[in-house]
Symmetry: C2
């Protein structure tokens, strides 16, 4: 890639534009877009204008938002018309959502009345809903057509890429009656009636379905595309698998961020400003810091115990960390299971019972190992050693139960289960573990 960049830069300096064109059209459109992203702005524009019309639109849709904005601001109205009228509807909507108002205006001024209305309608669908993801480039057929007529229609529409791997059969009111993969058209005789070979048992969603649910359906049924219908079952668009792959990674990134107490953001890390990164992290850090005060209050409450047996303090980190780790192991398993729809709210009893047993097993091993270490190797007083081991055992079991049930309860009250991950669980079980620790200490050492 670096070779290509310096090659292009040299050619521009030497005015060898046709050389650039020759080399660049051999590349994949995604790679051309990446190359343009890495050039300086004016050079980007020069190279972009060298691209043949038919590929410039596709390259444009793969470029970074900043470079797209620069290009729109720099090119003529006529060039904008060419791009926007040839771009898929879902890409158009994606780009408009990212652009500042003046650029959106410049774009909308250059599209036809009909298309502008349609774009505005798409922009009104809620974020992350089927409506905001779908595109309108699909082939519509009628039941009464023959395979030959259907192929004629595909040729006259002549759409590109994944959109015509599946065609959609509608009645006169645009109600969806069936779907038919184009391979079926190839495998059947030209005179076969579409109505006889279409699949009527298809999966469709409505415009308001959330993207997480959509991606789970794609995954479950191994789909390549899915029709989106309105409340009267009329086809309004389709969603294709290439967008779903991006959405799955987006949903996962969101979960990773929320689980690490970060406000989710779709921006790439290296492109995010420092102030923005700090802003996304400070809120939860403050909340968790203040919550941890509660744990401090517990220690203060037992100050007397601690001042007479100061060695107790030395085991606080081990106890807190083990509790936190045990709890977040459970929380992670459950949050992940909920996201993949392998675990449901109704399974809460089964989950707690399972984690209780895991907690007992893991707790016994950890506290036994710990006892050996503290009593035999560190020669700690036996009462202290017993206190630590019992507290450790209790906290591990508690941590497993708390860590597994809170994500499910969060989902039950319609919160994102991912907030009940390591940071939150750690804060909660830390308090519980110290409470247990000092209670047992008071009881065993001082009575």
């Amino acid at each position: 890639m670096n070779d290509m960049i310096s090659f292009v830069e040299t050619c521009i300096q030497e005015g060898k534009f046709s050389r650039i064109r020759e080399e660049i059209i051999e590349l994949n459109v995604v790679d051309i877009a990446q190359l343009l992203d890495e050039l300086e702005e004016e050079k980007t524009l020069i190279v972009f204008r060298l691209l043949p019309k038919e590929i410039s639109v596709e390259v444009f849709s793969y470029m970074s938002t900043e470079q797209q904005q620069y290009i729109i601001e720099s090119i003529t109205d006529k060039e904008i018309q060419n791009i926007i009228s040839n771009m898929f509807m879902d890409d158009t909507v994606d780009i408009l959502e990212e652009m500042p108002a003046n650029v959106v205006k410049k774009i909308l001024r250059n599209v036809s009345e009909d298309r502008r209305k349609l774009i505005n309608q798409f922009l009104r669908y809620p974020d992350y809903s089927a409506g905001s993801l779908m595109t309108i480039e699909y082939v519509d057929l009628k039941k009464e057509m023959t395979v030959e007529q259907a192929i004629q229609r595909i040729r006259s529409i002549g759409l590109d890429k994944e959109t015509i791997n599946i065609c959609y059969v509608m009645d006169q009111n645009r109600k969806l009656e069936g779907v038919i993969p184009i391979r079926q058209l190839l495998l059947n005789d030209g005179s076969t009636r579409i109505g006889d070979i279409m699949e009527t048992n298809f999966i469709s969603i409505d415009t308001h379905t959330d993207q997480e649910e959509i991606s789970n359906l794609f995954r479950k049924y191994d789909l390549l595309a899915m029709p989106v219908v309105d409340h009267e079952n009329r086809l309004v668009g389709i969603i294709t698998i290439d967008d779903i792959v991006d959405i799955i990674e987006q949903e996962n990134t969101e979960d990773f961020q929320v689980m690490a107490a970060i406000q989710p953001s779709e921006e790439e890390y290296l492109k995010t400003r420092v102030t923005r990164l700090a802003k996304n992290r400070i809120v939860w850090l403050l909340i968790l810091m203040i919550s941890a005060t509660f744990t401090g209050t517990i220690i203060k409450h037992y100050e007397e115990v601690l001042s007479s047996v100061v060695v107790l303090a030395a085991f606080i980190p081990m106890l807190m960390d083990s509790a936190g780790n045990a709890g977040s192991q459970s929380a992670t398993m459950i949050i992940r299971g909920l996201a993949l729809e392998e675990i449901h709210i109704r399974n809460i009893g089964m989950v707690i019972w399972k984690e209780l047993r895991v907690g007992l097993m893991v707790g016994i091993i950890l506290s036994a190992v710990n006892f050996l270490r503290v009593y035999w190797f560190e020669k700690t007083d036996i009462a202290v050693a017993i206190t630590i081991s019992i507290s450790l055992f209790l906290t591990i079991v508690l941590a497993k139960v708390v860590g597994s049930s809170l994500p499910i309860l969060a989902k039950k009250i319609k919160l994102d289960p991912a907030i009940m991950a390591a940071p939150m669980i750690t804060t909660i079980v830390d308090a519980l573990s110290l409470l247990a620790y000092f209670r047992i200490a008071t009881w065993l050492i001082f009575k």
Copy 2:
């Protein structure tokens, strides 16, 4: 789904088998498989045998491993032959990898010599490599064919599902020369030569490419299928997008587990035995518990300081938790960026510089808020309040730098960056934060 299960159970009791068949073939194959998974074993077998041959194979490949094993063990050799000879190669290999030796034997006894050789070759590819994911069901064409001849060939092979959305053009030595989506066949005239319309600028991988790299390529280039070639560029198989969607979720699940200090496992949570769950979690818990001892040693070392100012102990949890959270925020962002290939090892300097500035900003805010709270509201001694705030500030900055650099260093030495997540980072920065805390305390309070 529950309605369907009780309907099927009633019909079996009443011997109304044709009713079951009528109802069930209206369902999607994935739903039939799910239904069979939830029936008792003997009933599963009854219903499975009611399925028409052409759909039973597909249903079988979607069933759970346990039910697949039960079915293979219960049906006749002839039935096994029907299933195995009609199943896609990638599904066959997946199933064989999961089955116990005696079942594998029973299956292999029932396939032809040629197919057995092929299966054995597939089973030898390393796990998670392109070789173990690919399938061999694709349409191969020759450059010299016309579109009409190509369509003839597709009809004679007549493959199913996603496999024939793209055809592969090879020379006489089976070297891959180009790819052609079937929509191109539909859009072009019957007499057009394949060599003139095929794409020669395609992306291919070799049999040993890792699945994470493969899924990143699918995502980057919006692919639907990708050819797999051997070291002499001969086509040996293809990988299709439906498998990639599963792999992406699998890779994410693995990252979530490793990041929560769990040994990764592909089993569904509810189907995993308690002993297995405990086993997957105990190793890291033990390692981390023993590492936390180090932190305890630091406290012991400063026992004198602590016993004269016991209140210092009350702020240990807040300090440890804030450091842990700040560090794991950074680690999560970097681990995720590395996985999505948005961050590379060469960016380490840029990343540390970014996190250093984020740490300074976040650290100042947190320690200011903390000072206000501790000094004004809790009326703590000023020297203690200053000690806490300075330590907090230092630890936040340290945590950000450690949390962001360790995942990159792990990748550099070919470890999975995900192990440098919350649990590991917390253990490390806990020790650092307590060291800073007691050093500053000794200096500020006792000098």
